[in-house]
Amino acid sequence: MSGIGAALLNSLDIGLLLFIIAVGLNIVFGVLNIINFAHGALYMLGAYLAFTLINIAGMPFWAALLLAPIGVAILAVIIDRVLLRFIYSRDVADSLLLTFAILLIINESVRMIWGSGIHVVQPPQLLSGSVELLGSSVATYSLFVIVIGLLLLAGLWYLFNRTRVGRIMRAAALDRDMAEALCINTRMVVTGVFAFGAWLAAVGGVMAAPMRALDPGMGDKIIIESFIVVVIGGLGSFPGALLGAIILGLIHGFGGRYLPEVNLLLPFVGMALVLLFKPNGIMGKGASA
């Protein structure tokens, strides 16, 4: 039985990291109707910035967790102002293509700046051990990821439901014209939301850095996973993103253990099934066939 407990914890660990990464993708889609192909690249940037701050500048992990995402968010503002502003009024296909171009540019830039070697970041001393839980030892850092993921979920819920800024974002997403007529500068909301999505991607990157080796392909590895999370949970729904992330976490956690022959196939089967029967995702708005 210890196997199931361990697999469960492991699934949660994978799932909540995926949630942290994918929820930004989902918010950007929900509010801006943009499928951000470069989301994985922004996640990678977050991880590399954390590496630079921790291993090269010698800062503590906590400082990197604070600073790296801000750096990526600033870059996102530039991307928004220089490139994306041209395509907000166009159809989704254009945003897919433009963000794909941005992905290529960021990927190659990362390789030019940081080289192609494998880098690792140490978890902070406080979190580097492991604890006994559910009959198996679990890395303290994994628990930290789970906790941060849940905190982020709570924070997002609080932001969107209990703060004025969050409500303004929702209002702007629901009805841009009406929001404008109520003194809300929706153009700024758009930039802000894109930067916020990038910030979340980068938080995911910093969180991943102590458990995942950094290499210039790490963004590509995560982007399709993030799509799967978002599609399964429901485009534009962040509780959906959590559900999707946990489902994918379970597929990896249990699929790897009990169905290793098809563990490459399973996520895509899950994604296709959801799209076939609930195209808007399990928690998506107006789900219908």
């Binding site: 490139l83 897919l96 293509l97 433009l98 290529l104 399709i224 490459l264 994604m271």
Partner: protein
């Protein structure tokens, strides 16, 4: 007058293409073979994207299945090449029918995501079904026998193979072109511009989208059948989603609004890659910048922009 000029240009281009092995350096035989095959792949994609308005992110599934089909037939049955291509087209048509049947009812993002999922499922199967597909290594080491139809062609000679590809791509392009210009093709263009109006004209839009999807898949399969002997390998990367991105980039680069756009895009893509990689390893960076510029400023692609420019000059 205008048609005459166009026909003359086309004739020169075709004559030039036929003459490639004699007028260009040997390497360009390979480059042009690749351009033609990828051009056909991109043109097949553009039937559903540029004409019908469906952004598929799984088109490589058909390209890949075509390459595996040809490779498998060559390895196990040693049939003539033409027969291999027919098997490739059949296999991809069948796969397109299955995927299309489930996918065409979804729109936009959902269609893109579902085709991505199906494409990656096919990739995962090819990657892991070692007994049939040889897993991650792919199928290699097959040799081309005869061409078929009693023609005595040394297919192993790259120049000969180039001419065979040129002939087949030319025939396939004419067929695709006729389909695009047919009443059916007109309906497809109408569906992209205004699907609802088409259904109010009494047509089942879903059926038309499916037929277009299957035709596109079949021609992608033909392109895949041509690429396997050219690359000497059928490997899983031909099925990967990043391979699905290539025809999208080519179609956009060349111009989705024109039949020849994807071919121009394929030529630009392959030549750019060849030339740029000579000077820098950061080819992806250059490609990213070019793509961003195309999407933002030249949405009509190279061909569209050139035609607009020409019209401007003539005025």
């Amino acid at each position: 007058m205008k048609t005459k000029v166009l026909m003359a240009i086309l004739a020169v281009v075709i004559a030039g293409l036929i003459a490639v092995p004699w007028i260009a350096s040997y390497f360009y035989v390979f480059i042009f073979t690749e351009i033609l095959i990828l051009g056909l792949f991109a043109a097949s994609f553009n039937l559903i994207f540029g004409y019908t308005g469906m952004l598929s992110f799984g088109h490589a599934a058909f390209f890949g299945i075509g390459s595996y089909a040809t490779a498998l037939v060559l390895i196990h049955l040693e049939w003539p090449f033409l027969a291999c291509l027919l098997v490739s087209m059949g296999a991809s048509a069948l796969l397109a029918l299955m995927i299309g049947f489930l996918s065409v009812r979804l729109n936009e993002v959902y269609f893109a995501m579902l085709t991505l999922a199906f494409g990656m499922m096919v990739f995962a199967i090819a990657y892991q079904w070692r007994s049939v597909t040889n897993g991650s290594d792919g199928l290699a080491g097959f040799t081309l026998g005869s061409f078929g139809l009693g023609l005595d062609l040394t297919l192993a000679n790259p120049s000969v193979y180039y001419h065979v590809v040129l002939a087949i791509v030319a025939i396939a392009s004419v067929v695709l072109y006729v389909i695009c210009r047919s009443s059916f093709g007109m309906i497809l263009r109408a569906i992209r511009q205004n699907p609802e109006r088409v259904s109010f004209a009494g047509l089942n839009v879903r059926t038309y989208r499916l037929v277009a999807f299957v035709i596109a898949g079949t021609f992608a399969g033909l392109a895949g059948g041509l690429i396997a002997p050219f690359l000497r390998v059928a490997s899983p990367e031909l099925l990967h989603w990043s391979m699905s991105a290539e025809p999208i980039l080519m179609a956009i680069l060349g111009g989705t609004g024109y039949f020849l756009g994807p071919f121009i895009g394929s030529a630009a893509f392959v030549l750019l890659e060849t030339w740029i990689t000579t000077y820098t390893e950061s080819w992806m960076l250059v490609l990213g910048i070019i793509l961003a510029m195309m999407v933002i400023f030249f949405r009509k692609g190279l061909l569209g922009t050139a035609i607009d420019w020409w019209m401007e000059v003539k005025k």
